[in-house]
């Protein structure tokens, strides 16, 4: 499994990278390469040019403010896990990222690369959906913001133009009563999940849930919001009976495909179980 041939460029600035990407139809950006190099090895991608983003300072760094956090696209998983500010501001992020691949891959894999890769079984796209993240992208026509729900259009497919680069991920700060939950099931920790859930909601003074966002992954071509389960929980207290009703709705509203790893029926049941556990954790989390 050797890689196909390509030209390699490593520009110093974002502007140069955009020009390079626009210069050739087969040019693709290279972030951490932890997913892209394998799909090149499998000949699922055969770029004629790789534009390595590693030298571009503008794509790095984590900013935390009252409005939320901005994470540069080339920020590695390792750096997110090591940042105590993020753990305090958005606990869902480190909790989910601990499930991303293995130790060595987390030392090179990046948040922007994962979002642009858009693997339906990956954690970060679902987390972006559950956190209502905005993706900042740059192309020859300038900058634009893309809501996470508009970014993922199919397996390994996004609404990014081929000459656009993800610059940063913006995650709005939640109120102090925001609850988070994350669960996934995989045969070996670090492997791709058979099914998983990322969710957030705000708990009012009476203990009722509002603004709930439940994203399921590894059960469709993209991560998906579980609207039926959300409708059951919004305005209700998250307890054993509402969790059971939401889990049943979740299993009913997803239509996963079966594969060698798990049958469709098993995955449907698993979605309900993962949602149950994620909600139980979120409800018990008295921060």
């Amino acid at each position: 499994m050797k890689l196909p041939d390509f030209e390699y460029r490593a520009p110093d600035t974002l502007a140069e990278a955009v020009v390079l990407l626009a210069s050739s139809e087969g040019a693709r950006p290279l972030a951490g390469g932890q997913s892209f190099l394998p799909i090149m090895a499998f000949r699922l991608a055969e770029p004629t040019m790789l534009v390595d983003l590693k030298k571009i300072q503008e794509l790095r760094g984590i900013q935390v403010s009252e409005q939320g956090v901005r994470i540069g696209a080339m920020t590695r998983w390792r750096e997110i896990l090591d940042d105590p500010r993020l753990k305090a501001a958005i606990p869902l992020l480190p909790e989910a990222i601990e499930h991303v691949a293995h130790y060595q891959v987390r030392n090179r894999g990046t948040i922007g690369g994962s979002l642009a890769h858009a693997d339906p079984a990956a954690e970060m796209p679902a987390v972006a959906l559950a956190l209502d993240a905005q993706i900042e992208a740059m192309g020859p026509k300038g900058r634009r913001m893309i809501a996470a729900q508009d970014l993922f259009v199919g397996p390994l497919m996004t609404s990014l133009e081929t000459d656009e680069i993800i610059v940063a991920v913006h995650i709005p700060a939640g109120p102090s009563n925001r609850r988070y939950g994350f669960q996934e099931f995989s045969r070996r920790r670090g492997d791709f999940a058979l099914a998983g859930i990322a969710l957030s909601y705000d708990q009012d003074a009476q203990g009722r849930a509002a603004n709930i966002r439940i994203a399921a992954f590894s059960i469709a071509d993209t991560p998906v919001r579980l609207k039926a389960a959300e409708a059951i929980l919004n305005g209700k207290i998250v307890d054993a009976s509402t969790i059971a009703a939401a889990a049943a709705a979740a299993s009913g509203e997803v239509d996963p495909a079966g594969d060698i790893h798990a049958s469709a029926r098993y995955r449907k049941a698993l979605v309900g179980t993962m949602l149950t556990r994620a909600l139980e954790r979120a409800a018990a989390d008295a921060r």
């Binding site: 196909p4 390699y8 932890q34 190099l37 293995h102 130790y103 060595q104 891959v105 670090g190």
Partner: protein
């Protein structure tokens, strides 16, 4: 492409195609065959090397991406004479049988213990879950890593 980096403390210059992985460059261009290559798509961990102090998969890193970095392979772990404390612990605990995964295990654990000399058994198990071993059942590898921690805690071992 002409690419320069440092391997085990030695400056090297190679002329490679961009598509050559760091693993293949180490083995074929630099004849450092201690780095093993198995799955070649980031699943097995056998090709793990230490890049600027961090364990990385050399099959998921291009040789041209290693430009100006410091690489340590399994060959770079041993002192001039004998074995490193981690290698000695592997020998003592019989932490290998066929030995194919061992270079990746050693480099991964060396990077981990250099940064986290007090790593718990749970942490060690989580970290080497990214390295496939089909002989040992991992028990003796974990024992060796726990045993080797004292050398890193004392500061005599660093990545």
């Amino acid at each position: 492409m002409a690419t320069q980096f440092e391997v085990n403390g030695r400056k090297v210059s190679v002329n490679v195609q961009p598509r050559m992985t760091l693993a293949d460059c180490l083995r074929h261009e630099l004849k450092l065959t201690g780095t093993h290559v198995a799955c070649e798509h980031g699943v097995c961990g056998a090709c793990t090397v230490i890049m600027d102090g961090e364990a990385v998969r050399s099959c998921l890193t291009l040789a041209v991406q290693a430009e100006n970095s410091k690489i340590v392979t399994v060959e770079g772990l041993s002192p001039a004479e004998g074995l490193s404390p981690l290698q000695q612990a592997f020998k003592h605990h019989h932490a290998l049988q066929c030995g194919f995964c061992t270079p990746g295990m050693l480099t991964t654990l060396h990077a981990l213990l250099s940064q986290e000399p007090n790593a718990t058994e749970e942490r060690i198990r989580d970290v080497i879950s990214g390295n496939i071993c089909r002989c040992t059942g991992y028990v003796t590898i974990v024992e060796a890593a726990l045993d080797a921690r004292s050398a890193y805690q004392a500061g005599s071992e660093k990545a």
